[in-house]
């Protein structure tokens, strides 16, 4: 682990803690407040401070210390959580985020950050009056009294700990200074005694300045928990040998420690005695009993209070407080039920499973040929499990959109405050799952749309009152599935888009002719033009005309599209339509002119036999129970010619005779797709076709069939668009000759 890796861990963790702080603050802002929340937020601040201290990021430590202190007082009910405090805390959290992002040197170089630092500390001052309370408590000396064979404290919580530190020899190379750990320990309590062991020092010829030869035995007096002390060494625990014993641990534990260390036993024992962790008597007693190999339970130990733990008679296992730190860490991460995985590893796994599924399908085909019932049955079972594995693996990539939506709470709150508006954010469909990559790329577009809606869409409190609306404006973020797509809808109940104003502005900018006839949708799409803004004045939130073009570009990069609907005085809605890439899709396998296609199941209404229906007046339209349904022929739209001689032989019907019609729905429209053959339902993995085929409309991706053949997945909205475009070209006679 290099320093960069460790720092990276710090950043990631700090980010998580900052996020959790924000969530707690948002809840508090809504009026909730209980001890758990206060504990949560305190712990977050405390952990950030602690970790920053280890890296010597003093700017973070000093600021966070004050924040932590205020939170601690709130936790102790010394101060009340009030609106003002929450506001300041929000700012402090943001400031901490800025602090985490810069190094100490950068901080010292940035006057603005320092000024912020000072301002916020001043703002916190009213709540932080008893600033030194905590540190005082920690550093207050307690006379440790001797109790039998060990030093324990009486009448105070302060406990004695013995820390035996054998840091990895690479410690310095990894950018860790042992001194900073010791410094940090002294912030947890008082270091009573420290012995530096230099036995490992080589002669000058073999000395390497970057290798750590020092070992430490430390006696620490602190009311910190074992976990807190362990956390000090979080970043070095991997290859270091660290033993932490409470003063109430038994002599045998100390003896075990002495044995474990390479140094001379007698000398180490002397050191322990010097540290005050062991008394000479106890040591000798222990040694005697060890020599005798006497296994009778240590009566002394039985009487010890072991930090509330029941003392086991067994000497070696439970009663020992020395704990393998790595093990601890594992337990900790499982507590959160989350593990972090490199996304490349995940992709690799999914690719492998993709291959497994295809192999499985091949085996299934082969086993059917053998007509061996036992084999077929076994393969069926295999099939069942492979599908489950595939589903599970694919679901790893999917994340609920909720976390992204949640982040907007803060944005909406701050923006509303800045604009003097009263806005309520409603979140729907937070558990709708999207591909992880998409979620990441949606943040920016959503931010722009939300800001725009708040700035331009929702009216001021007065205007809403005048219009007879609820003074609290509503902004809704919703996610749901529709026809094989995922829809993210952002809607508000504001004033709607001013069509007249958009038109004027577009004419002014020369985007459209003054006499152009535009549909509402076309008109609204003008706002995606770079530099387009109807705002009469530029605010610091929006109106500069950058933003909406970014929205469109980002969404299109995700192969999605945006629809806008708006009604003056009632509100607007932005609908982002996204494909389900890399999700498994439930599809319907069809064939046309020997080419395999998959129609997303979600778009299909029904399948009918075309032979039973007559075209209406020679057009590609049929009458289906009174409705006129236009249809397109796959072989025509994709200019397919039967390529496999095999298919020609099997399929005696000339390709011009269409047989089956799949009725699909897209948005509010219904259309038919004429194909040669229906092959039934199929569940497949979407394989993107790659950048070369980006311009190919109507095909959203590819998929592998059981026999290894490739099928194309149809993108129904695009396909219909393509059909309409072709029709226009044909009518105007500008049809380009295909080469």
């Amino acid at each position: 682990m290099s320093l960069d890796d460790v720092l990276q861990t710090f950043y990631v963790e700090a980010q998580e803690h900052l996020e959790s702080m924000e969530n707690v603050l948002l809840k508090m802002d809504e009026g909730e407040c209980d001890n758990d929340m206060l504990n949560d937020i305190f712990r977050s601040a405390h952990t950030i401070k602690g970790s920053a201290g280890i890296f010597g990021l003093d700017h973070i430590v000093s600021f966070t210390h004050v924040v932590e202190n205020v939170l601690d007082r709130a936790r102790d009910n010394e101060i009340k959580i009030e609106k003002n405090l929450i506001d300041v805390m929000f700012k402090c959290r943001d400031h901490m985020q800025n602090l985490v992002a810069v190094t100490l040197d950068e901080f010292n170089g940035q006057a603005e950050l320092q000024k912020n630092d000072g301002d916020l500390l001043a703002a916190l001052a009213p709540w932080a009056s008893a600033d030194s309370k905590q540190t005082q408590a920690k550093t207050s000396t307690v006379t440790a009294s001797q109790n039998d064979n060990k030093l324990t404290d009486e009448g105070d919580n302060n406990k004695l700990w013995h820390i035996s530190l054998r840091l990895s020899t690479d410690c310095l190379r990894n950018g860790m200074d042992p001194l900073s750990f010791i410094k940090f320990l002294s912030s947890l309590g008082k270091i009573k005694h420290i012995e530096t062991i230099i036995d490992a020092f080589p002669d000058s010829a073999h000395f390497d300045a970057e290798t750590l030869y020092l070992a430490y035995e430390i006696a620490l007096q602190s009311d910190a928990s074992l976990e807190e002390i362990e956390n000090t060494f979080m970043f070095v625990q991997d290859d270091s040998d660290i033993t932490i014993l409470s003063a109430s641990a038994k002599v045998d534990d100390y003896l075990a420690l002495i044995d474990k260390r390479p140094e001379d036993n007698q000398r180490l024992a002397d050191i322990l005695v010097n540290c005050g962790s062991l008394t000479r008597d106890a040591l000798e007693q222990g040694l005697i009993s060890q020599n005798k190999k006497n296994s009778t339970p240590d009566k002394q130990a039985a009487t010890d209070k072991l930090a509330g733990q029941a003392v086991e008679q067994d000497k070696t296992s439970e009663s020992t407080v020395s704990i393998d730190l790595t093990k601890q860490n594992k337990n900790k991460s499982s507590e959160g039920k989350q593990i972090r995985i490199d996304s490349n590893r995940l992709d690799h796994l999914i690719n492998l499973i993709g291959e497994l599924v295809i192999n499985q399908q091949r085996i299934e085909l082969l086993s059917k040929d053998t007509k061996n019932p036992a084999l077929t049955e076994a393969v069926d079972d295999f099939d069942n499990f492979t599908n489950q594995i595939r589903d599970a693996a694919l679901s790893l990539r999917m994340v609920p959109i909720g976390a992204t939506f949640q982040r907007f709470k803060r944005l909406v709150r701050d923006t509303a405050q800045a604009l003097g508006k009263d806005v309520e954010l409603i979140i729907e469909g937070a558990d709708t799952e999207l591909d992880r990559l998409m979620v990441e790329k949606l943040g920016d577009p959503l931010t722009h749309i939300v800001r725009n809606a708040m700035d331009h869409g929702l009216e001021s409190i007065e205007a809403r009152q005048a219009a007879g609306k609820n003074i609290k404006g509503q902004l809704k973020l919703a996610a749901y599935h529709e026809g094989g797509h995922i829809i993210i809808a952002i809607s508000d109940d504001g004033n709607g888009i001013d069509k007249v104003r958009v038109r004027e502005k577009a004419i002014e900018k020369g985007l459209i002719n003054p006499d152009a006839q535009l549909s509402d949708n076309e008109l609204f799409h003008l706002i995606f033009h770079p530099g387009f803004s109807t705002a009469t004045e530029v605010t610091n939130l929006s109106g500069r005309g950058v933003g909406m073009d970014v929205v469109k570009r980002n969404v299109e990069a995700l192969q999605g599209s945006i629809d806008i609907s708006s009604q003056t005085g009632v509100g607007s809605e932005f609908k982002i339509r996204l494909p389900l890439t890399l999700a498994i899709i439930d599809g319907f396998h069809v064939e046309a002119s020997g080419t395999h296609f998959i129609i997303p199941q979600a778009t299909i209404i029904e399948c009918i036999n075309l032979a039973n229906h007559q075209d209406i007046k020679g057009r590609h339209c049929i009458n289906l129970r009174g409705d006129m349904i236009p249809y397109l022929k796959m072989s025509e739209i994709f200019k397919l010619t039967p390529s496999h001689p095999q298919t020609l032989a099997n399929n005696k019907i000339p390709s011009s005779v269409k047989r089956e019609l799949v009725i699909v729905k897209f948005g509010n429209d219904v259309a038919g797709i004429a194909v040669d053959r229906l092959n039934g339902e199929i569940q497949t993995v979407v394989k993107p076709l790659g950048p070369i085929f980006k311009a190919l409309k109507g095909i959203g991706g590819s998929s592998l069939l059981g026999n290894g053949e490739i099928a194309f997945i149809l993108d129904i909205p695009q396909l219909i668009e393509l059909a309409i475009a072709n029709e226009i070209v044909n009518k105007t006679g500008k049809s380009k000759n295909s080469e």
Partner: protein, 175 residues
Amino acid sequence: MNNMPINRQEHDNSEDTMVDKTSQFLTFTIAGEHFGMDLHQTREIIEYAGITKVPLMPKFISGVINLRGEVVPVIDLSVRLGRKPITIHKRTCVIVIELHTSEQYCVLGLLADAVNEVIDISASDIEEAPAFGAKIRAEFIQGIAKKDGEFIVLLDAEKTLSPRELAHLVEAELQ
């Protein structure tokens, strides 16, 4: 399946400074012409076992194949170099190449009549492409090497098969 490391440094040197280093090239034949491609960029050679045509594509895209679960586009290099489409026969093979450009990582298949051998060519034996006469766009050619009295056209795969340019060509075809 694993990525093959590509020694870009060596490649660059041979192009720019003509340091006398040898590079390995995979040579293959299309319609009697010999071509070579930097071995680092080739991943494997497979037998031609049918291809799935992609609708509406220009002729230089033969289609896609299923390469152990990966859908890989196959290019008819012959068309791309301005010649007649390749004739498929029993020994036709697909050379699978990997392109790591600054923009993206891309796997492509190339149709060839036959794959010959892997040869070492020292940088000093590579001559610059003639400005004309090769009947191939000069920028596609990395250089010309001579082996056993035959000329081998060393192709610059990144230029010849740039995914970005191929995508533009597809777009133009579809309009």
